[in-house]
Symmetry: C2
Subunit: 247 residues, 2 copies
Amino acid sequence: MGTTQLETVPEPKYWHLKTVLAKALDSEFAVGEVLPNERELAARFGVARATLRQALEQLELEGRLQRRRGVGTTVAPPRVGVDVGPAHHSWPGAQGDAWQTEGCETTVPPAAVARALGTADDHAVHVVHRVRTVHGQAVATELLYVPAASVPGLSGIETDAGTARGRAVLRELNRLELGGQERAVELGSARAEDARRLDRLPGSPVLVVTTRYLAAGGTAAVAVATYRADTCRLTFGDSGAVSLLAS
Amino acid sequence: MGTTQLETVPEPKYWHLKTVLAKALDSEFAVGEVLPNERELAARFGVARATLRQALEQLELEGRLQRRRGVGTTVAPPRVGVDVGPAHHSWPGAQGDAWQTEGCETTVPPAAVARALGTADDHAVHVVHRVRTVHGQAVATELLYVPAASVPGLSGIETDAGTARGRAVLRELNRLELGGQERAVELGSARAEDARRLDRLPGSPVLVVTTRYLAAGGTAAVAVATYRADTCRLTFGDSGAVSLLAS
DNA sequence: TAGTGGTCTAGACCACTCT
DNA sequence: GAGTGGTCTAGACCACTAG
């Protein structure tokens, strides 16, 4: 009376589907190639479209696939390694900085940022918006929070224009002596505005890198950077060695 | 003929639902409190259960909620900050190491690891299994790949037992002179075995930390650590300062 | 055994991208 | 306009936990 299955393992369909697709991607598809559309794939594997989508979502999360509405599903290239220091030990805006300034405003930061800055909860600070691109593609957005006290030399003339003032803030920031950095990485989901800049849908998984820039006496600035989790692999090269883990 | 909505923004229901729930979590719920079950919440908000689940999934991804089958959905505590160096600049198994050795085997590593180690694709290496716990809870699993060449002093007597051999490998590794570390962080989904150890479902989002340990001449070992993305916030404290970002 | 979240279905319509 | 992925529905059953 032996049945075909020993230890009947009720492995979810989408899980099995995912492994099958992953193998197919390795052996039968090239980077950039487009897969059959979801309705056809679902029919081919004999599952509902929702189940197939669950498998595709996981593969996209792992950076194996790229899906774009109105276009299709393509095989993603290997993740790009982006260096997030602390090799340079320098301020934002220093030479070799990979970020491009896009604007600057003055607002009250979120409570968590205010706490890290050591400012009052209702104290407005400069917020510099920046974007990081790799191979011409935006991979991260950043909000750099700088209290006015950190940039005392900022002239009043530059306090209106967006991008110009952003650059002025960075310039003044670089006059300070850097006392170290603290970083944290966690998983998040893209806010609507970040998603737009990163060419993703709102809620897409992102890696949030929070950096605290220290100067004599305390925190001079806090940066909250949002990296595309599907395409990015954050590298931390120590000991000055060239990173071989960066693809 | 004015309609109620200007600029009819077709914001997805689950997105709106998510923000509503997030606000409610801030104002009306305490950490550890259990939410109403999914069927009731869906009815209360007038949406299908699948739509509600989409909102809950995002909140869980952001570490705001914790869902457990057969139990319910509870409000998650703030993410715990776990230090992933490079403050110590030490080998695995050194004093103060946060990991616990669970076993050791000898197998051929994945191609990507073999490449980083500089070994042949079919060359077997020691693989030490370790677990990292915080507050009594497992937050990460690790596979530490150590080529036999890195631990020449390993005696033959210790080559059979699991945990004992693991400790022996770590002991031998600490005889080497550390030449630096390289780290990379990326998003992944938990393999079945990791998920079990971390008390999560297979496919749960995890932060994968790959570390390359350098010694004179090249790569002495490679560690692939898998952290729970829902509960962990990886911290990188530089300059020896106490991390204030760690919650 | 009752109640929970997890999986799955078979549809429908919408938003977007290209031609 | 045709074709794609994204959203949503209203059900059903399963796996797990706990009293």
